[in-house]
């Protein structure tokens, strides 16, 4: 090995400092787990400390745009750019909150002797999601996707004595295995057509020569299957309700935010880098004329949100309801991609911040209630308004925000998505999305009716909330209300993180 390539390697290592910090955290967690074989309550704090270092390193290199592990000039495996860094930050913050969830959760406390496994798998999963958000090579895309999937299969069935945990992980592993296998087959065809696995190289090859139309379409759609599974888009969403209902609540919350964010980062990067021809001054993308992605995404997103919203109407389990609502939200998020413009990406980024906070909040309240009541059935929530006023009011705020009503942050998220749609002259799609929001109002408000208007069926004592969970809820409620009124910082953040490497 000569000195030049060694220098390349050192330069690359400088760019992936956050990932290195995460890997060290993973090793530390395993070591602490081995050394402290009796007292394991430090484990989550080790993890949080490692994540805080990661967050610091991410903020430090936020506006850097470069390739790491270059194979040729301007071609590399890993891309470091503001877009990827934004998603990594979002994932890191979501992980910190989910670790706090896990500390409070009764379900995780049950498997106290296996906490080491739990946090080690979680740190493996976040490393995979970081790589997903920054991969520019089909090999890395597949490997990182599998790293995330394999960790989450085990986490979904963490309490192996619980029937529904085991069932959730079985369903997850079967659906996940099939969709990643189909994606791999698509990757192999794409590799055969272009002779390269690097997205930038594939892009320049398609620009240079006319690649066979139908085969190329089949390969791209097969690759979309794997990503559609991760973001639970419509025809590939069947795992979502079962896995979300069966898994421990912290893992459900984690899957619905971090895993989905990584999937969206991967999807947007794949579509933009592989198929872009040029970006016009107004920020609209002109894609290569191989596949009509616009129509494809319009169909997928309308199908996703309609299916999610209508199926949620009949749910009686709170986790299952939130699972369908997260499918519907994936549909709204995909709308931001259908406009194929920088404004759409900005809308997705704003929506993701808001969605992350309010969904984590909703799952936190559901978990705190389940810790006390031992149930997630909506019928058991009757009369909760008088027994646990603080929890009920916070759940009301999160659900109103998920609907997208004005004084909350959820409204701002939807507003920017609709603005992007109107600017792209897609009024009909915007109207369908608006009608969907009206449908979603019904099932969110139905929960609130049970909490505040129905009388309790059986006598239960007043539910007390611990100080830690109250503080934690306030931390999540504040941004939901604040961003609903003062959202300039959110928009500024989104504007600074839309730039993808190379375009």
């Amino acid at each position: 090995m000569n000195t030049i390539s060694l220098n390349y390697l050192v330069d690359s290592l400088k760019l992936i400092k956050p990932e290195i910090a995460l890997s060290i955290t993973l090793v530390l967690i395993v070591l602490v787990d081995l050394i402290m074989n009796k007292d394991k309550k430090f484990l989550p704090y080790v993890f949080v400390a490692g994540l805080l270092v990661t967050v610091y390193l991410l903020i430090e290199q936020f506006s850097t745009s470069a390739f790491a592990f270059t194979t040729a000039p301007n071609l590399g495996m890993v891309i470091i750019d503001p877009f990827g860094n934004f998603f990594k930050l979002l994932i890191a913050f979501a992980t910190i909150i989910v670790i706090m969830f896990s500390v409070l959760s009764n379900e995780i406390k049950e498997g106290l002797d296996r906490q080491g496994e739990y946090y080690a798998l979680m740190s493996g999963m976040i490393l995979g999601m970081f790589l997903m958000a920054s991969s520019a090579d089909l090999i890395l895309i597949y490997v990182s996707l599998e790293l995330v999937s394999l960790s989450s299969y085990v986490l979904a069935g963490f309490n192996k004595n619980h029937v529904r945990n085991s069932e959730a992980s079985l369903k997850y592993v079967i659906y996940g295995g099939i969709s990643s296998g189909i994606m791999l087959f698509g990757i192999s065809i794409l590799y055969g057509l272009t002779g390269s696995t690097n997205l930038y190289e594939i892009n320049s090859l398609i620009q240079a020569s006319q690649v066979h139309g139908l085969t190329f379409i089949v390969a791209s759609v097969l690759i979309f299957v794997g990503m559609g599974f991760k973001i639970s888009a419509a025809p590939f969403h069947f795992w979502t309700p079962d896995v979300y209902e069966g898994s421990p609540i912290p893992i459900t919350a984690y899957l619905s935010i971090a895993s989905k964010a990584a999937g969206f980062a991967l999807l947007i990067r794949f579509i933009k880098i592989t198929f872009i021809q040029s970006v016009d001054p107004n920020g609209f993308w002109h894609l290569l004329n191989v596949i009509d992605w616009k129509t494809f995404f319009i169909i997928i997103s309308i199908l996703t949100m309609t299916l999610g919203n209508f199926a949620a109407l009949w749910q009686n389990n709170m986790k299952r309801l939130l699972a369908y609502s997260s499918i519907a939200h994936a549909g709204y998020l995909l709308l931001g991609l259908t406009v194929l413009s920088n404004e759409g990406i900005m809308a997705i980024i704003i929506y993701f911040v808001v969605y992350g906070i309010m969904n984590l909040g909703a799952f936190l309240v559901v978990m705190l209630i389940a810790n006390k009541l031992g149930s997630e059935e909506i019928d058991d929530y009757d009369g909760l308004g008088s027994k646990a006023p603080f929890l009920s009011v916070s759940l009301a705020i999160f659900l109103v925000s998920l609907t997208g009503l004005p004084p909350t942050a959820g409204f701002i998220g939807k507003l920017y998505i609709f603005m992007a749609l109107v600017d792209a002259k897609m009024i009909a799609v915007a109207v369908i999305a608006l009608l969907n929001t009206v449908v979603s109002l019904y099932y969110y408000i139905r929960v609130l009716k049970h909490i505040f208007l129905n009388d309790p069926q059986k006598e239960t004592q007043v539910l007390s909330t611990s100080v830690a969970s109250v503080v934690f809820l306030v931390v999540l409620i504040t941004p939901v209300l604040l961003f609903g009124i003062y959202f300039t910082p959110l928009v500024d953040l989104a504007k600074s993180s839309i730039s993808l490497m190379g375009f």
Partner: protein, 103 residues
Amino acid sequence: MIQVGLNHFLVVSTALFALGILGIVTRKNAVMVLMGIELILNSANINFIAFAKFGNFGFQGQAMALFVIILAAAEAAIALAIVLNIYKTFSTVNVDEIDTLKD
């Protein structure tokens, strides 16, 4: 004497892919479903190697196939552990009977 070319490999890999999907759709035993998934992964592997050899694309295809073999092993280990756990709790590995989470 027939020269074995790219098309022969593609026919084999597509057949394997189709058989894998067929296995997943028709089989009720969870272990058989997992075998269907393995078939799909291996059909992609054949594609990678065949394209790398006949297209003179260098070693990316072979490298990818190695990664896939390792990941397939990891996935099989995890999936079988999950199926074993299912057998302990449900006393069956028939995927149609494991449906407590339906509404």
